[in-house]
Symmetry: C2
DNA sequence: GCTTGACCTTGACGCTGCGTCAACCCTCCA
DNA sequence: TGGAGGGTTGACGCAGCGTCAAGGTCAAGC
């Protein structure tokens, strides 16, 4: 007669595992000796080894008792089912590995490489790290909403950066937000450039990137994001309104430009 | 300002997941509105999307906050660690799949194919299903103890089955144990054959398979298994003692054969 | 006969990442 | 004004044990 420790050692499992199998009814509780110890016979050892064999093969404990009683065809069928689960799980993990391989750098987190390239381009024309991060967060929101369309938009956005006025704007914004001046005079300069660019786009009849008309939420979020990242954005929007433009991501000409 | 449901929908997660992230401190609790509802800004949406991106890549939630604050090299290092975990997990599951592929039939459960072949041979010489199952369980115990030596023992065991006396023995035992007669006269016949076989083995100086001398446990278990599967085995052992042999798996000649 | 260490007992929490009630409150629309 | 469809906290459940806690028991050496 074996004690629980001897039984567990023979089958190559832990004592805790054996007790767990008792708890869930997978292995019947044996008789106790005078002092209350569990005493096991050879049959229990055989059962435990069978259980471990199936468990090691990835069979859920809840199915093992059924499996041990099943006939050959039911057994084979159950094995197929379990193997499919295993395959699916492996596939899931391999997908994770592919995802994780994409996450090498900080910028590409939650962003396609095209956007990362755009952000690098932004850096190269003089945008500060703060500005780049703000842009990155904005594109994270956009990517979450239109993951498939993002790639087709990026070439146009990258091209925009070739405009010296755009480069100038980003540099001015970088200076503003890197300092901590409450009412920076350069805000007006930035507003002037932005108004000029808006005029340009309006004249060219350009449809602003991301305009889907039926879904304002992402645009509202982008606006909110800008304000949350720095309250002076609110001041900039005021200045833009004075120049006849409302909005932030999507500029709209006000009905009646002020005198 | 977003409600929790809107936020969750935007990031493509469940409301419950968002609350969970609050609980574990992964996503900061936002302000509440007058009625106690959580109200989220755009920053929260960005954070949540970053969290999901890492979580979908298989990063444990407990490490995500560290990862989001890490610099490029620490980030890369952490990613490597996580990728190693993923690889190990995939390896584990693939090992499971290989194991499970071996479990096609009932006999091969916890047994190498050589033993399954031996059992088939047993069937072919007329052993009943009960006897074969008892043999199988015995071999499960042996395999658990000496998994590597089992293969080298099997050819000898299979060869033994060519002996017509052995075949006769198994058929007699099959008849005995398939019926439910308390004091079967065929028990004596079986004992006669066994004694004869033991004498044969003794004369040939054969070392009984599995004799390791320093480890009695498996043999004791095999003896116990036989008795547990049918109490009439005890009667058989008595009859063997009368014929000058003790033991069951390992027969030993008694010092003084009774008259 | 007493100590010591190894083993046994039950009970309960911890881990991972949420899903899923329960019981109740808030908002919005017809 | 009522009902549908949000939101709130609290709690259990899941798989498969690991790991205390707080003891009782056994075998061996002194």
């Amino acid at each position: 007669m074996l004690t629980i420790g001897q039984l567990a050692a023979y089958a190559g499992v832990t004592v805790r595992a054996v007790r767990h199998y008792h708890q869930i009814g997978l292995l019947p509780e044996p008789e106790r000796d005078a002092s209350g110890y569990r005493r096991y016979g050879a049959t229990a050892a055989v059962s435990l080894i069978k259980i471990r064999t199936l468990a090691d093969a990835g069979v859920p404990l809840s199915q093992i008792s059924r499996l041990l009683e099943a006939d050959a065809s039911a057994f084979a069928e159950a094995i197929r089912t379990i193997d499919n689960h295993l395959r699916a799980e492996i596939e899931r993990l391999e997908t994770s590995r592919r995802h994780i391989a994409q996450l090498t750098a900080g910028d590409s987190l939650a962003l396609p490489p095209e956007v990362a390239a755009y952000l690098d381009r932004l850096r190269s024309i003089g945008a500060s790290e703060r500005i780049v991060e703000a842009e990155r967060d904005g594109w994270i929101l956009v990517t979450a909403r239109w993951p498939d369309r993002i790639v087709e938009w990026m070439p146009g956005k990258v091209a925009e950066l070739d405009d010296p006025k755009v480069a100038r704007l980003y540099r001015v914004l970088s200076e503003i937000f890197d300092d901590d001046v409450e009412d920076d005079p350069r805000l007006a300069e930035a507003a002037d450039i932005m108004a000029c660019l808006a005029e340009q786009a309006y004249a060219a009849g350009e449809v602003i990137v991301g305009e889907e008309a039926d879904d304002d939420l992402p645009h509202d979020l982008l606006d909110a994001l800008a304000v949350e990242s720095d309250p002076r954005v609110e001041r900039l929007r005021e200045l833009m309104r004075e120049r006849g433009w409302s909005g932030w991501n999507r500029m709209e000409r006000l009905a009646e430009p002020p005198a």
